[in-house]
């Protein structure tokens, strides 16, 4: 079983590979279509951020399991300049690069969990998780 994938992002086009791997893993785990595309879009955002803001980095995808649920963990890691103000970067409409300012807030909304560790001059590590929605089956009595 496919459990962990690493995609090195040194060129912009590598974000497409990270997205493909995320979609494959989501399909493999039986994610619904919407959740799979939420994940894939978040991975694309994180991967293009690595390229735009840090000149590259690595995306790591990992399968998570907990009782009655499966999920995918995404770790975006770089050794770039770091995020000066994480709180500001997570605010809707804020951008330092002329972007929409909805990259990271968008990722937060698309994923179930988001943690950002950033140190100026050392780099940034973003961990995001998406859990597959659990469909409750209701027993019907006839």
């Amino acid at each position: 079983m496919l459990e962990s994938v690493r995609v090195s992002i040194s060129e912009e086009i590598h974000s497409a590979e990270a997205r493909r791997q995320a979609l494959l893993l989501a399909q493999h785990l039986g994610f619904g279509r919407t959740d799979a595309y939420y994940l894939a879009t978040a991975v694309t955002e994180l991967a293009t951020n690595l390229f735009r803001h840090a000149g590259g980095g690595e995306i790591q995808l990992r399968t998570l399991t907990r009782q009655n649920a499966v999920g995918i963990e995404v770790i975006a890691h770089d050794t770039g300049p770091g995020i000066a103000n994480v709180e500001q970067a997570l605010r809707e409409g804020f951008s330092t690069s002329g972007g929409l300012g909805c990259g990271l807030p968008g990722v937060r909304r698309l994923m179930d969990e988001l943690e950002i560790c950033s140190e100026m001059g050392r780099g940034t590590r973003i961990r995001a998780c998406k859990w597959a929605a659990i469909i409750q089956t209701v027993e019907r009595q006839c």
Binding site: I13, A16, R19, Y37, T41, T48, L100, G103, G106, R109
Partner: protein, 131 residues
């Protein structure tokens, strides 16, 4: 990779079918605007059926390009957005603002032709009179 811009009468037709880098997206924006101005195109179709994932940058550029094209005088329609893309953009807190959308190319062209007819541009009306 440059996105081809096809001319269909007074309408320009573009279709984004592959992953584009940020630079290619910006090139597309410039190419489209110049192409519109060059032939004074009345309408622009941006067809995105093949796009499975639209990130925030791509969404902004499509939106901006459409608004710019409208600003210089063309009617614009975006066609073929997949349900997954619409779900994701809204969930991210982004939609396309001020841009008309249709299910497919056929409806997109019909919508544009209707809007162009309603405008009653003088150069177009003159041509009809001459016939």
């Amino acid at each position: 990779m440059r996105i081809p811009i096809l001319r269909l009468g007074d309408i320009l037709l573009t279709s984004i079918q592959v992953d584009l880098t940020d630079a290619e997206v910006m090139q597309f924006q410039t190419d489209v605007l110049h192409a519109i101005a060059d032939i004074e195109a009345r309408g622009l179709v941006i067809e995105i059926t093949a796009l499975e994932v639209v990130d925030s940058f791509m969404a902004r550029t499509i939106n901006d390009t459409a608004n710019m094209a409208q600003m210089i005088g063309a009617e614009v329609v975006v066609c073929g957005m997949r349900p997954a893309v619409a779900l994701t953009l809204i969930e991210m807190g982004r939609g396309l603002i001020g841009v008309e959308t249709t299910f497919n190319l056929n409806e997109g062209l019909a919508r544009l032709n209707k809007k162009i007819a309603q405008r009653g541009d003088s150069s177009l009306t003159d041509d009809e009179d001459a016939v």
